[in-house]
Symmetry: C2
Subunit: 472 residues, 2 copies
């Protein structure tokens, strides 16, 4: 116990708050749910306080967002790579490097246009955006009748009736679900898989209801997963209000048509990079604890929540631990993954190299659910292991970040699962996430500085506990 | 048990989900932390689902905010009274009535002006707003040198040196605190009590740093508590950026002056109303469970979070319970209090009449901390009683609203304490509250519909549990 105190706080041993704690409390054992270790609890408090008063992640996010959107393969994404590298060097991490990855390059081109067309009436504009990897339409646009469907199955069952049509996937979020990620999970197949099913049956284009809980005029983009050997047809998202309008018009006038013009296109792949920085462990340097987010974003906003937040928080975990004088026993590594939005490419490459080189990532925490107020962490492990991690609840309760529950880690870190890494996802409150996800409103103004900082603090506390006690 | 099931669900007995639950679960006792009563747990799930899918509180809040700001004594506040009365009648509550209260009338007048004045330089505009109840300045404004202080004590200690000066209270929020209400609580004395202390020593006006966690250009108003028999001097809030600017200029140039023009004034008191609606209890109609918020707001925004949210949630609790066919055993009452922002007048009058008439309010839940994502409820009772309420945690955990902790109820319901009422405050996440509190940004666009609805659901579950089990 004493040794650990010395190790933890060598630069601070004379002045931290522990000394004021009652002795009886020091004698209780560490790491049980009943009685948190006072040294670590004190450090958790100090990390939160340091972050709230001197945290850098919000100003870092302001800088990152000023670079513009970071669509994978774009010039701005490359600038963001340089920014991330310089930032981690400036914070004095022991080692900072780039890991090359080959990424697709897709460009949106000129602003999209869509109009609702009915005989004898003026065209009515619909708010629309091209979906990622979609090809463009002919320069003058395409026009066709519209078939509304609620599911992939319904579209597939219509078969040849889709020929020459625009297929309109309009199943909304199930608002009865508490987690908006569950809402998203129940609807996103329309966007990812709808275009290939429609293309298979000869449709000329696809429109998808935007993936959001909001009823508004903001379209939300996202990647289409075009299947090999099927026609790749143009695909776009309608804002939920435009989707509601189109749907209501189709009910009264099934001959309603849509005219759609998309200028997007796929270009040749380019080389980009994962950005990696680490602080070497003093006792077990070969045991790596990773924090990560993805550096690429969609191009409509500036990716403040998705996933600029996760990037700056991942860096911040190392910075704040360093700034309070913490000396990690294990190696702490922050990774800014490239091209999560388009193919999860950076994560796959990182995982491949980690496996190949036999690196031992004991745990990885991804932050890719926005920079909102903390709830806790999801843990991608069996219930019996999750229960063990719940011994740590008391270290998170004082700042309301103590939901340690079973759940996924994240796209970027998932390739590490096969090496036995304990995968975790930082879990902020989800209610506002899909207001901004993949949309023009995902900008710095949608991020609250204290919410972002509390998230970084939650991750820092988790990293500190794993570093101190090892994984469960 | 069976009787209770029948009572609870008479309109639904054949079709609710309980029937699918394993029998063994039904045999466990109700009301223990270990095993929540399945009937009530099922009802809690249904209330949350009903609210998320068919909740009315967000559209109600849109309506309310469209009336404009609701400064106590203003025409819009009177319109809001009529709105609240009509709304509760439209929802079919058993009884809806108005309770007269005499409220102050203060008007802001023309937009405020403040300029930083330095010799040989052009005046620099400061963003400023008059504080509630402040008198105006002379029509042409007043100009004086500025003394910056960090506390009431410091101001008081300067005594005669404040003569003829503008006193500038500039102590910022303590950002190290987790709850932003704690930040506010540590700074708000400057606004409420600063002007009288400055006036006592002959100061000509007061400027106060806005009560917010943000660094921005938005001034936040709020009431001044002028002490009797002391001069009432003009008082205004500076935005935090203007406060920082003024402070930095005073450091390099102590002769910096400020010119301030306020057009506000106090008018004669007017009659307004608390708006009250109730659904009568079927078994214990004399036992009242109250939900409440305050209908008046400040005049800069439209009081969406403060406290339109609390009003629509308080109504919604009764509406949603009614809409799922719930028949309360006790009387459920929603109260929209008038003039909380200026003197807490409606709450005091409601409490006076409740005491006078011997009404038995067994519990009261106030929502006045914004329409943000739920954390739980604060309970204004000793720890031993709070612990008993924590038996109910399982009814709130599934939607992350399960923090049942010791803490204040709310200004409006506090006069009920002397009648033995159990006072509670609905507690949403606090991080964003002071971005909007008393400011022009407190508008409907700052409210997320799902967050607001989940809050109403949390209150509805609490009311249902108290109604079913009685208070703890």
């Amino acid at each position: 116990m004493k040794r650990q105190m010395m190790d933890l706080f060598s630069p601070f041993s004379g002045k931290h708050r522990l000394l004021a704690l009652p002795v009886v409390f020091l004698l209780t054992t560490a790491g049980t749910a009943q009685s948190p270790d006072p040294v670590k609890l004190d450090l958790a408090h100090r990390l939160v306080k340091e972050e709230l008063t001197k945290g850098m992640c919000f100003s870092d996010l302001e800088e990152l967002c000023r670079l513009g959107s970071r669509l994978t393969g774009s010039d701005q994404a490359q600038k963001a790579v340089a920014w991330g590298e310089a930032k981690m060097k400036a914070y004095g991490f022991d080692r900072v490097w780039l890991q090359p990855v080959t990424v697709p390059k897709w460009t949106r081109g000129k602003p999209e246009k869509a109009n609702l067309i009915q005989k004898g009436r003026k065209p009515v504009p619909l708010t629309v955006c091209a979906l990622g990897l979609s090809p463009g339409t002919p320069a003058k646009g395409l026009e066709a009748g519209v078939i509304e469907v609620q599911s992939l199955k319904e579209a597939d069952s219509l078969g040849g009736r889709l020929q020459g049509k625009i297929v309109f996937f309009n199943r909304p979020f199930d608002e009865s679900l508490i987690s908006t990620f569950a809402c998203y999970g129940g609807a996103a197949d329309q966007r990812s898989a709808g275009p290939s099913i429609a293309g298979k049956h000869g449709a000329v284009a696809v429109l998808v209801r935007s993936m959001t809980n909001r009823t508004d005029d903001i379209p939300h983009t996202g990647m289409v997963n075009y299947q090999k050997n099927l026609p790749e047809i143009p695909a776009a998202a309608l804002s939920t209000r435009s989707a509601d309008l189109l749907s209501s018009q189709l009910k009264t006038n099934p001959d309603t048509r849509v005219r759609l013009t998309l200028d997007c296109r796929n270009e040749a792949p380019v080389t980009s990079w994962n950005v990696i920085g680490e602080i070497r462990g003093t006792e077990f340097p070969d045991e790596i604890i990773l924090t990560g987010g993805h550096l690429d974003s969609w191009d409509l906003g500036t990716g403040a929540h998705d996933d600029g937040a996760g990037c700056v928080q991942s860096i911040e975990v190392l910075r704040v631990l360093k700034s309070v004088g913490y000396k990690p026993r294990r190696t702490l590594r922050a990774v800014l993954f490239m091209s999560e939005e388009v193919g999860g490419i950076g994560g796959k490459e990182y995982g491949r190299i980690a496996e190949q080189s036999g690196e031992n990532h004991i745990a990885a925490i991804e932050s890719d659910r926005g920079g909102f107020t903390p709830r806790g962490h999801s843990i991608q492990l069996p219930d019996s292991t999750v229960k063990k991690y719940q011994d740590w609840v008391p270290y998170f309760s004082f700042f309301d970040a103590d939901k340690l529950v079973r759940g996924g880690g994240g796209v970027d870190i998932s390739p590490l699962e096969k090496t036995g890494t304990h995968l975790m996802g930082y879990t902020p409150d989800s209610q506002r996430y899909f207001d901004h996800h993949h949309a023009a409103t995902d900008v710095i103004g949608a991020v609250n500085p204290r919410e972002l900082k509390l998230g970084a603090a939650a991750m820092a506390v988790m990293v500190m506990l794993i570093d101190q006690e090892g994984r469960k």
